[in-house]
């Protein structure tokens, strides 16, 4: 009898505790998905698990930051959306956004918030934020991804070149590359003058060639702000010349090579003297991977002297899926991490470039050499087009670049084929 009473008491006690526990105000859990890896320097801040501590305390929530591999994250996002297990916040490559918009899976930023943001940030950030008539689908990350030529100053000195001056024209680029490359006794290249990206995802190949493509008069799509319509313009004399330039550097001059696939890695390892890619990647990785590297950064070279330089702007992007259950809180979290104060704090911590005009006027940004070099480059930057067929356009162009540089096709043929495929992708996306 006594033991059965005791058992009843225990059951009642546990049941009460459980009820009280469940009755307490439940903490909302938000998930944030981001790509991780060597190429995702812009996601470095997610390693700080206290990033959202203040926000979590004030809003009684918990933000779980979940990393995924860059190459497979799109697939995971799509699968999650189809399966109904949607993350609340996405941190993605901005070049993925048109694909998501085509499938109508991204929530637009509330109009009032968009207007406030566009009024306070730099013009380049407006370019990356605005999807037409002030409509936004997310917030570009700090640490703007501007592409420039980076070079090894020691190699330049060795070759008798001014270490403070990058090549300004395509002809100079070719000459510099010839002077900088090194071969061993058997004739194998041990150091390339200019490292090129020619393998991997076609988007990556295009990103690192846009300096030549745009400078050559090419257009990914003629109306870059519109989500639909326009046409691809690949087969221009300038674009042909740009492709042929690199082809000649590979097969005629032999000052670059297909054996050096990742230009950033090659520069950091000292087996390339120059490369053209996102400058933030070198800025973020050099202190750890090449602490003694003396490097310079400038706008990519132009077709001929006097031409206006052009380069690409890209960024990481915070957005909210349409099917998430916690939209309001998700936007609040994004606005918290993208506030003017947080922008200053994180850019200072991670030695990166801020987005707010007001922060550019403060130290360390107004006196840091890297940031000041970027300030001069930013006005020449162009964002990727908003067209919903961007994936298909980039694939077509990426394949053409690879075919030419791998000696699979002539420049004319490759570009003509790519242009036709890109226009097909634009038409498909407009349906």
């Amino acid at each position: 009898m006594k033991s059965s009473k005791f058992i009843y008491f225990l059951v009642f006690a546990f049941a009460s505790i459980g009820f009280l526990f469940n009755s307490a105000e439940a903490q909302t859990k938000l998930t944030l998905w981001y790509p991780a890896g060597q190429i995702t320097a812009g996601a470095a801040h997610f390693s700080d698990k206290t990033l959202f501590t203040d926000f979590e305390a004030k809003n009684n929530c918990k933000i779980e930051m979940i990393e995924g591999n860059y190459d497979t994250l799109i697939q995971k996002i799509i699968t999650a959306m189809v399966g109904g297990d949607v993350p609340d916040i996405l941190f993605v490559d901005r070049s993925w956004v048109p694909g998501f918009l085509k499938e109508e899976v991204l929530e637009p930023v509330p109009a009032a918030d968009a207007k406030t943001w566009l009024g306070k940030v730099n013009p380049e950030i407006v370019e990356l934020s605005d999807y037409g008539k002030g409509k936004m689908y997310g917030y570009p990350q700090y640490g703007i991804d501007v592409y420039g030529i980076t070079w090894n100053k020691e190699h330049f000195k060795e070759a008798g070149l001014d270490p403070e001056k990058a090549p300004k024209t395509w002809a100079e680029l070719r000459e510099y590359s010839k002077k900088l490359c090194k071969v061993d006794a058997s004739g194998n290249i041990t150091r390339v003058g200019l490292a090129i990206r020619h393998v991997g995802h076609p988007h990556g190949v295009v990103h690192k060639f846009l300096w030549g493509f745009w400078a050559g008069g090419g257009e990914l799509v003629t109306d870059s702000k519109a989500l639909r319509g326009g046409e691809a313009k690949f087969n221009t004399p300038g674009v042909k010349e740009a492709l042929q330039l690199i082809y000649d550097m590979i097969y005629v001059d032999k000052s670059t090579s297909l054996n050096f696939p990742d230009p950033r890695d090659a520069l950091l390892k000292g087996i390339a003297s120059m490369q053209i890619s996102e400058t933030i990647s070198i800025q973020a990785r050099a202190p750890k991977e090449a602490p003694t590297l003396q490097w310079g950064v400038a706008l990519p070279p132009v077709r001929k002297a006097g031409d206006r330089p052009v380069t690409n702007l890209n960024s990481w992007f915070y957005s909210v899926p349409t099917k998430t259950k916690n939209k309001a809180l998700a936007w609040k979290a994004i606005q918290y991490i993208n506030s003017e104060e947080k922008d200053y704090e994180l850019c200072k911590k991670f030695s990166s470039t801020p987005r707010y005009k007001a922060n550019w006027a403060k130290d360390p940004f107004k006196s840091d050499p890297y940031n000041q070099a970027l300030v001069k480059m930013l006005p020449y930057g162009r964002a990727y087009p908003n067209n919903l067929g961007l994936n298909g356009i980039m694939e077509a162009l990426g394949a053409a670049i690879q075919k030419v540089w791998h000696n699979e096709a002539k420049v004319d043929v490759a570009l003509a084929e790519a242009e036709a495929l890109a226009n097909k992708a634009i038409k498909e996306a407009a349906k």
């Binding site: 190459d71 799109i74 697939q75 799509i78 699968t79 959306m81 189809v82 694909g99 085509k102 499938e103 109508e104 899976v105 058997s186 004739g187 194998n188 020619h198 393998v199 991997g200 995802h201 076609p202 297909l258 054996n259 050096f260 696939p261 087996i271 994936n391 298909g392 394949a399 690879q402 075919k403 791998h406 000696n407 699979e408 084929e417």
Partner: protein, 303 residues
Amino acid sequence: MAILSLSKKPSLLIHRRYQITAYFFIAPIVILFGIFRVYPSIQTLAYSFFRVELLRGRFTFIGLENFLDLLSDTIFLKAVVNTLIYVISIVPISAGLALILAVLFNTHFRLKEFFKAIYFAPMVTSTVAAAMVWLWLYNPQFGLFNVILKMFGFPGQPWLMSSHQALLSIIIFSIWKSLGYNMIIYIAGLQAIPDVYYEAARIDGASSIQQFFRITLPLLAPTTTFILIYNSILTFQVFDQVFVMTGGGPAYATTVVVLELYQQAFLKYRFGYASAMAMVLFLFILSITIGQYAISKRKEVVY
């Protein structure tokens, strides 16, 4: 008569009970097979006739449009060609090398089991893990293969970096990966051949080569049939090593059907189109398998 009919009934009941018990035992696996294999296959067939917008929950019937688009898709056709080259290279080479190794391992020598384990080891290694290692072996600057080539005075090769060598590089990896399994199957087949045939051949003065071509090879025909069909089915579905090592590039030089199917579905969200690709692949594998089986059956001998 009554006595006879009474004795039949209990045995029928017992038989029926055994049948029901047997069905209960196999039911779980049949149900799981149905859910995870049969249902998705039927769904894929259905999807191939639709424009499937999974994210929007929209299905539009378009008949054979997906299949007709495949005929004009240059990248898909390139993937088909690459896959055929891959299969035609790997299947006979892997089977041939495995047969030679199996014949060698069918004799007695020191450390036989140790070497057998070495050849079989790639089979038990994860394809992705092995592909990651080979990615480094193929590295043009630091990879072991180029280091060895340079040691012998040959120039380093681009391997996976070249659109002319990338597919060959993956083929070499795949042969290395599948060799062990085929070898074990052949060893089993060799051990099933009765010694009396070899004794009789030796008495009649047949040489080793004659014994191999007149006894071993014909009697191994069922084993060879199995290896050819099994390897063909697997190699037509190649994905892991291509995804890890090259992603289908450079310039689509290594793209294969399953990789293209994956990209259409998960990177371009064209699930109906990808389903059509899957159905074309299925029909291809089925017809090749039936053809191989029919031809192989004719080669089998009975002594």
